[in-house]
């Protein structure tokens, strides 16, 4: 297990290196550079521009700049945002927690709803629960996240006026910050503010997870050892709980890791709709103002979160299914 872990972490290191290279190259290929964007509409002499380039090291050759960028990365330095006149790390730091809160809550919502429904659908194949779950997952997959968000706002905030439609309440702040009476009220408000964004972001996740859970359950229930258990006269309920449930979760684990990518992309949209000050809104701001350094920093961070997520799910998979790590060692 340890060797497998080390191997995966090592591979991830390579992927991360590749990501920094590609984002760097991508930004390099874009027309213009940070300085030209800043002086775009101003009357500045070529000399001043050249001086600025020299000051920020933009006149050095490509490989030198990439290496110094890498060196900075290793020390936790993501560069300097010319637009915001601040280090990229400082700009990104306060934006991480809201996005993680949103994405993790959505995954929790998706897992809590999709696993029971998927298992039920798989166990009662072609019966009512199966049809219901297939309908739900079809609707979930076919509806754009942002439209779910708009419709949820329309229904719960505009029509019934029961849930707030913008920004979040953060549980790690003190109740006084929001003017709440007690800690409990803070938590209640946190959940209330999270409900709509989580519903919007989690529906699509739930739908894909439920589809896989259902088909995985159907497949597992057809395995020979399950048939054998049936022949022994073990009650169906017990078979489901003791024999089929755990092996059927394997594809789900992998899918959660892979879905992290689409969830992060979804967070960009959802944060924009609900005016949440997370990585997503920061990213759109940065793109809007053509802030090269900041866009690069955010891209690297998002990709890192994804790669780390995949490692965690891979390790969880190896933990649940020992065959994986043995295979890796041989």
């Amino acid at each position: 297990m340890l060797r497998y872990t080390l191997k995966r972490v090592f591979q991830a290191g390579f992927t991360l290196l590749g990501i920094t290279f590609i984002t760097f190259l991508l930004m390099e290929l874009m027309p213009g550079d940070p300085i030209s964007v800043i002086v775009q509409n101003q009357d500045v002499s070529q000399e001043v521009i050249a001086n600025l380039r020299a000051k920020y090291g933009l006149d050095r050759p490509l490989h030198e700049r990439y290496l110094s960028y890498l060196g900075g990365l290793l020390q936790g330095d993501l560069g300097y945002s010319f637009r915001r006149q601040a280090p990229v790390v400082e700009v990104i730091k306060p934006r991480l927690a809201p996005t993680l809160l949103l994405v993790l809550s959505s995954f929790t919502f998706a897992l809590v709803t999709s696993i029971p429904l998927g298992v039920l659908a798989g166990a009662k194949r072609n019966e009512l629960p199966d049809h219901v779950s297939r309908l739900v997952s079809l609707v979930g997959i076919s509806t754009p996240e942002f439209w779910v968000a708009i419709m949820a706002v329309l229904l719960f905030s505009v029509h019934f006026n029961v849930l707030p439609a913008s920004s979040l309440v953060y549980p790690w702040r003190s109740p006084d910050f929001y003017g709440y009476q007690s800690q409990i009220q803070l938590y209640v408000e946190t959940v209330r503010h999270l409900l709509l964004p989580v519903l919007a972001l989690g529906t699509a996740q739930m739908a894909t997870l439920m589809r896989v859970e259902r088909s995985s359950m159907v497949e597992t229930l057809q395995e020979e050892y399950v048939q054998l258990a049936r022949v022994y006269g073990i009650p169906e309920r017990r078979i489901l709980r003791k024999h089929a449930f755990r092996p059927a979760q394997l594809p789900i684990i992998t899918l959660v890791g892979l879905n992290l990518s689409s969830a992060l992309a979804g967070a960009v949209v959802i944060e924009q709709i609900f005016q949440i000050n997370g990585m997503g809104t920061l990213f759109l701001d940065a793109v809007q103002s053509l802030d090269y350094q900041l866009v690069m920093g955010i891209t690297v961070i998002l990709a890192t979160i994804f790669v780390l997520g995949v490692i965690v799910t891979d390790l969880a998979y190896a933990y649940v299914d020992p065959r994986i790590s043995y295979g890796g060692e041989s």
Binding site: L154, F283, L290, V310
Partner: protein, 326 residues
Amino acid sequence: MATTQNVDQEVSSRGASWRQIVRHIRKDSTAFFGMVITAVACSIAIFATVDANLATLTFGQFENYALANVLPVLQNPVRTPPPTELDPFLPPAFAEEGTWAHPLGTDSLGRDYFSRIVYGSRISIGVGIIATTLGLVAGIAFGAVGGYYGGYIDDALMRFMETVRSIPGLVIIIVFTMFVSGGNPDIRYAIVGMAIVTAPTFARIIRSRVLSVRELDYVDAARAAGVRDRNIIYRHILPNSFAPVLVYSTLHVSYTILAVATLSYLGYGAQAPTPDWGAMLNVAQSQIHSHPWLSLWPGLSIFFTITGLNLFGDGIQDALNPKIRK
């Protein structure tokens, strides 16, 4: 998991013919339903040119349009001629104060919403197909070269593709459209960005096929006969590696349509006054409190189109899956 899927697709597509797919879909009622929706959506996109011009017009342009088009509009019995005055924010026809001249009402500039929705189908479906095709071509090129030559070239290409995949697709596309266009995003950039993001997936599928086809005797024979590499790939390997990736690409169109709608909604795809469903939702959202109808129709259109494509796609996939097919 991904590799087993590829293998599944590979194994299955060898045994199935188009006739089998058709037979399967005829029996499978949900897939048939999906096919009907898809067919209807596509025909609307292709044939319904009724008042399409009206959909893009703004206040000032309307008078010129009316002058130039009075005759054709009167000759066309399909729709009631548009009223000569623009009436903003009309509710749909079945609501109070609605009129059948504008079945879905009008938007803030008094443009007929039904025309815009109809015309929007052409943009959404068209863009979905074009972007998928571009991604398919690029993916085939990369996958075929990597799979055929193997070794370092293959490793480098596949590593590159893997890395691209680990950055959220939407992020790449937005960065691409914004920075390449120098701050003036446009649907064309969105299409190219979309193709960049989808290419790696296609490349992986075609590569796994090429890897097995490459080892077949007739390829050896061609090589022994001195056929050039380019011709071997083009004439002998690709035609025999094509089927699974083609099927996958039809399934992929629905994903592309969703992604492009999201982009346009965020303002990085189609721009106003183009009647794109995503762009329409973008505008409608600011009027959601006063005119909720405007947010309903584009979303429903996306939903039905994608549902149809998904059901149809599931049917095709089932037809190709030997476990289910028997």
